[in-house]
């Protein structure tokens, strides 16, 4: 045990402020920043433009109805479509509504005048929100306009299982916190494992651990794993209470899953250092693998729509099974079995990367020690 504590003292106790900044301050600040950024949950007053070629009671009524919707804000009335297109290019409106000539007259004659909606699908998320609101608002207005209208004979109630309020921004926030800690764990693993190489203190490191390379490695990464996991745990559940309540029964499996993810990420970092023996190159590899990991994890764009080789790569990242574990638990008791499968996968990953990391680091230490 003495050799273990000697290693901890060497790496953590030498007033390495940057390590603490990287391990504690940055992930917490980044996570809190992301939570604040997405705190509005639903955008309001999204600017839209109107091109109206019909100066009628109906067009004015539709305009008022749209303006009353809290998500939409009729910002500009353009004389023609070209001017509104330029406003969209400048980012001043997100959608344009086109009321055709003699719209009211045609609607009263049951000739179904078509209202065109031009959206800016370059901002896909906002465009979808705007479109959904316009459909509902104008659909309601249409129903109240027609004397013949009947109730829909078939209507659909869409329910999002595990997310009844449809708080996707909240879930995006939670997943982004996981992505931040995925990167953080990899980075800190790389940093701690490479620090003695960077400062050319490999011999001192091994001596501190009474000549045991395994103890030296364990002493270097174990406290880091615990600190990062603890931060992750606290911030994750804080974010969850902020965005969506979580059942106590889910807490244990998620916490264990997070532990496995942190261990696996540290292991990956150790492998990079073991393979390269350089903090700079290993950090760059961490950046390349861990930086865009969220894009590969299937939460924003589904895994099933990705090419097979990308899907295989996604399953090499510990982030993917942890997000799947969380997703399965959203479905309640029925998701427990699937969550358990993801947990087993994560445990296998953690064991694999940790063993590989230890072996490669052991080899690299021997190389540089000699």
């Amino acid at each position: 045990m003495k050799s273990f504590f000697n290693t901890i003292k060497l790496l953590y106790g030498e007033r390495n402020k940057f390590l603490w900044f990287l391990m504690v301050v940055l992930p917490i600040l980044t996570s809190l920043f992301m939570i604040s950024l997405l705190s509005a949950e639903t955008p309001t007053n999204v600017p839209i433009g109107i091109v109206s070629f019909d100066d009628s009671v109906l067009s004015r009524k539709l305009e008022r109805v749209i303006q009353a919707n809290p998500v939409l804000d009729v910002k500009i009335k353009c004389p023609d479509l070209n001017s509104c297109e330029k406003e969209m290019q400048a980012g001043r409106v997100q959608a344009v509504l086109f009321f055709p000539p003699r719209m009211e007259e045609k609607a009263l004659r049951l000739e179904a005048p078509i209202i065109s909606v031009y959206t800016n699908a370059q901002s896909l998320l906002i465009s979808n929100i705007v479109l959904k609101e316009l459909r509902v608002t104008l659909g309601d207005a249409g129903a109240s306009f027609s004397d013949y209208n009947l109730e829909d004979l078939l209507f659909v109630e869409v329910e999002s299982v595990g997310n009844p309020e449809g708080n996707y921004v909240g879930f995006l926030g939670i997943n982004l916190i996981v992505a931040v800690f995925h990167l953080c764990a990899m980075l800190i693993g790389t940093y701690l494992a490479s620090w003695p190489f960077r400062t050319k203190r490999v011999s001192l490191w091994i001596q501190g651990a009474s000549g045991s390379r395994i103890m030296a490695i364990f002493g270097a990464v174990a406290p880091g794993i615990f600190i990062v996991w603890l931060e992750f745990l606290v911030l994750y559940f804080y974010t969850h209470t902020f965005f969506a309540p979580i059942h106590l029964s889910q807490v244990w499996l998620i916490a264990l899953g997070q532990w496995m993810m942190v261990v696996a990420c540290f292991g990956m970092g150790m492998v990079f250092v073991g393979a390269t023996g350089s903090m700079r190159v290993a950090s760059s590899l961490t950046g390349i693998i861990g930086g865009p990991a969220f894009a590969f994890a299937g939460q924003t764009f589904p895994l099933l729509a990705m090419p097979l080789c990308v899907q295989c790569f996604a399953y090499l990242l510990p982030l993917t099974p942890l997000l799947q574990l969380q997703s399965a638990l959203l479905l309640g008791p029925v998701g427990l079995l699937a969550a358990w499968d993801s947990f087993l996968l994560l445990s296998g990953m953690a064991a694999f990367w940790l063993i590989l990391g230890t072996l490669s680091l052991y080899w690299q230490m021997g190389r540089q020690h000699d």
Binding site: A90, R280, P292, P302, Q326
Partner: protein, 385 residues
């Protein structure tokens, strides 16, 4: 004078290809990321998502709904169950991502003119699939319902079918995408990310190479006291600036000519706005890099710090989450980073074909940043000489 200047530019440029860290960050990263990042999204759209129908009605109408669902572009009816619990289990195992429950007696109720509700259940964790599945099932139900409703209106009010259709929906909506016509996910995400890649690699590269420091500790003692390292402040600062600027202009051209072509992204940018954009964006970023490079003691520290900033910076640009929905203090912070103005400016130019007048607001922001960071960079370099 020009000879001295060119000497500094060439010396710095040579370093990009000779220093291993610089090769990785300033040469390989920009190329590698631009190919690696779009890969998950090459298919652009999620099509034929596996779903199930829980058919408790077992009627002609319920089978018609199943066939219509399977025919839609977004859905593939992978299973038809009789019980909702089987579908829930399949969803938990991610064999399906949603299911529709057709209740018992639906057809009979509909034929009698009574409303009947169809429950659609999607996986709560997947935002994009929820939207796609919900919309597709809603369209199927609306189409089936519209047929029944039009027949009902036509027979009740003795109207021709065309009028009955208009009575059902007096002013139908026609949706057209003015830009990103295919609503491709890659078209939406990748152009913004490419600009972020340029900014991040540039900032990290400058900080790793020591920015504008007079004597770079990573150089060998022979090189450290070279003529270039001891050049006067203006030559050294602007010589290095020019090397970074020209190097990154090549990247932008590479993205425009090769990456956009390979991944088939819309290319509507005219030369004038693109050149102006490049001048302002790269100037602001390089001067920011020169200013903050002095803060880092170790060469790799900037990489470790800036990696954390990548996700927040992407969101700060407002490309996926509108600026107006962010808290005020975050909006103020966002104005410090060139990407906040550069990402919307670039997508406006390249994806939407905007001219200088349309993106003037973003360009003004970049100009202010450029002037501010140039002043800070020069001041700090002078102080630390």
């Amino acid at each position: 004078m020009i000879k001295r200047f060119i000497k500094v530019v060439l010396h710095e440029w040579k370093l990009f290809f000779t220093d291993p860290a610089a090769v990785l960050l300033l040469v390989l990263a920009g190329v590698f990321y631009s190919v690696y990042y779009p890969l998950p999204y090459v298919k652009q759209l999620a099509e034929k998502i596996p779903v199930a129908i829980v058919d408790q009605d077992q009627s002609v109408l319920s089978r018609q709904i199943t066939r219509m669902s399977n025919a839609s572009q977004q859905l593939q009816v992978a299973y038809v169950y009789g019980d909702a619990s089987e579908a829930e289990k399949a969803m938990a195992e991610e064999k399906i991502y949603g299911f529709m429950v057709v209740p018992k007696g639906m057809e009979r109720q509909a034929r009698r003119g009574e409303s009947s509700g169809l429950g659609v259940y999607t996986h709560g964790a997947y935002v994009m699939l929820h939207g796609a599945i919900g919309n597709a099932f809603a369209t199927v139900a609306a189409t089936a319902s519209a047929n029944l409703k039009v027949q009902k209106i036509a027979t009740t009010h003795k109207l021709p079918i065309k009028k009955a259709m208009a009575a059902r929906d007096p002013f139908p909506l026609r949706v057209q995408n003015m830009f990103n016509g295919t609503t491709g996910y890659a078209n939406y995400v990748v152009p913004s990310v490419l600009m972020l890649i340029l900014q991040q690699t540039l900032l990290i590269g400058i900080c790793t190479l020591g920015g504008s420091r007079k004597q770079r500790s990573f150089l060998s003692s022979e090189k450290r006291f070279s003529v270039v390292e001891n050049e006067s402040l203006m030559y050294r600062y602007f010589g290095r600036f020019t090397a970074y600027f020209l190097h990154y202009c090549l990247f932008l051209s590479f993205y425009h000519a090769v990456i956009y072509q390979v991944f088939d992204f819309p290319r509507r940018g005219a030369a004038g706005p693109m050149i102006l954009f490049a001048v302002l964006f790269f100037s602001a970023t390089i001067h920011l890099g020169m200013s903050i490079s002095l803060l880092f003691k170790r060469r790799e520290s900037s990489l470790q710090v800036f990696l954390f900033f990548s996700i927040p910076l992407l969101f700060l640009s407002g490309f996926s989450w509108p600026h107006s929905a962010m808290p005020q203090w975050i909006q103020y912070i966002s104005y410090l980073f060139p990407s906040t103005f550069a990402i919307p400016a670039w997508t406006a130019i390249e994806q939407m074909g905007a001219g200088v007048a349309e993106i003037a607001g973003y360009l003004c922001g970049l100009t202010v940043q450029m002037i501010l960071y140039l002043s800070i960079g020069l001041f700090w370099t002078y102080k630390r000489r």
